[in-house]
Amino acid sequence: MNSQDARVLDQNIPALDPDAPVILEMRHIGKTFGAVTALVDASIKLRHGEVLALVGDNGAGKSTLIKILSGFHQPDVGTIILNGKEVHFASPRDARAVGIETVYQDLALIGDLNVFHNIFLGRELHKRTLGFMLLDSARMRALALTYLNTMGISIPSVDSTVDLLSGGQRQCVAIARSIYSSPNILVLDEPLAALGLREGGQVLGLIQNLRRQRTVSIILIVHNYNQVFEVCDRINFLHSGAIVLDAMTSETSEEELIRIVKSGVVRAAIGAAAPGNGSVPA
């Protein structure tokens, strides 16, 4: 809407502490759906405060991997280790209970409710009026406003309904909603899908803000990695159900990734992808 959306990303993010503890490990995860093998042997590590990009083509297994992490699917083989302890998630509720929040592409926002009611939906604040527990909208509004400002999220008004916001603003509200419960791990499923450059910039700015904080670890599922190179600490490339590349973004470059993608193990994937879908710059 305004020029404020096209902000320049702050590049002065201190590098991740190399001694930051590994808080999450997914080891040798395998999962099949009937005859379809979604994951063969996928292992990822996530350190405290790290922003990890999970890159891969359609059908590489990204969605399955994060749905296992968020408790929607259970792995056939493999283990999930959280803070050194093995965990099992029977449902998304279990994953939430240990601080893993996931923002899906459909966002789960309520278009007809305003921004602050969306942020507080399911955990409303009340006050007692004439003996009845009524919504304390004034307090929710004020808290949401402070909160969004602290996170550096700009929206025209917290009073406007969510369906009047732009795609990037909606994505930011959805992320803010998830962050509000102070998760340890935030999983963002294709947060840049269907967003224009400027809109995507707003979301990337928010991720960058979170990254500077180093309080929440983020797994970013992306299709098109050249957009996220600047906000990630590490990139994992998922191909045919396994991680084929694990590199710090500081030790690699976009060009190198493109070269690996072109020359190496994932040539088949590029051949299979429809030309011009922009999934991997070929």
Binding site: A108, D112, R123, F132, M133, L143, V158, L164, S182
Partner: protein, 370 residues
Amino acid sequence: MSLNLEPKRDHGGQAFESSPAVIRTTGVRIPSTITGKLLFVLSRYREASIAVVAVILVVYFQIGSHGRFIETQFLGVVFRDTARIGLVAVAEAMLMITGEIDLSVGSVFALAPYTMGLLSVLWGVPLVLGAIAGVAIGVLVGVLNGVITVHFRVPSLITTVGTFFLLQGIAVSIYNSQPIMTPVEEPFNALFGESLFNPREDALLSWHGMTAFSSVIWAALIVAVMAVVLNRTTFGLHTVATGSNIIGAREIGVRTDRIKVYNFMIAGGLAGFSGIINTLQFSSADPAAGAGYLNLQAIAAAVIGGTSLLGGSGTVIGAFIGAFVVATLNNGLVMIGAQATVSDIFLGAGILAAMVLNVQVERLRARRRI
């Protein structure tokens, strides 16, 4: 999921730096042009457009009837109709916000007071207890409608057409379709609809004068309560969430099935209450009182009052004003000498105009981002 009352994002004593280039507007921008202001009011207060229509109609009929519209006796009739339609319209608005509809309210409207009358005539049950039983039957019908709709996944349009005929059949066959004269048990009757007002003897602001408006006073009270429920409670918030984005609401943890069943129960209860008030006015319970017409009048009132048939948005106060508009059209046109049947033409045109206006205002709102 942990629940934080305060945002805790400054762990380690380091707060987010917000970019200085970012300008945030925290309030709602009020547009400067006249059209902009009009659209702003219409979109912010959905009741505004129907309120304007109501005022125009009253002025029109007051002039057309040479000043007889705003007279206690005539207004009393309009208000009774407003209460009868309005109570059902409010419940219908709540259901429509969740994305459902209830077409069985018409027969609950007949069955509840008929039960009350029957209990009184057959076993001498006091009307108060009979009325409670009648409302309870309405609530139970709501449970039935809700459970069939939610658990068996039958669209509520079909569910409630089914229960409409079912209850209609029960009401008509239970006592050989005989209308029942209900006894007069004061002060119960006068409190809930019977008018003791005699314009020649009583002052308007007397107890007898008040009884002429008792039904609309009850309706207004219930509308006020429902408005608070919709706008100021978690239940209301979840009602909107259910109708606006049911999948998203479920993901967040809103118990959408329960919300729907509760709203069906409210609809049944209010339809029963409306029928009882209507019966006490005349001390006569007709097993075919509501029929299908009341359903449609109530839905019309909710729709022209600004409730979307698609779910997610609506207003109970608008539905009540909508009921007043429907009642005014029905009675006012007769008063200025038009054929009774003509009022349906205006009502039909009114619904179409209201729908077009609603959709257009919504589109303009989205485009201008008011």
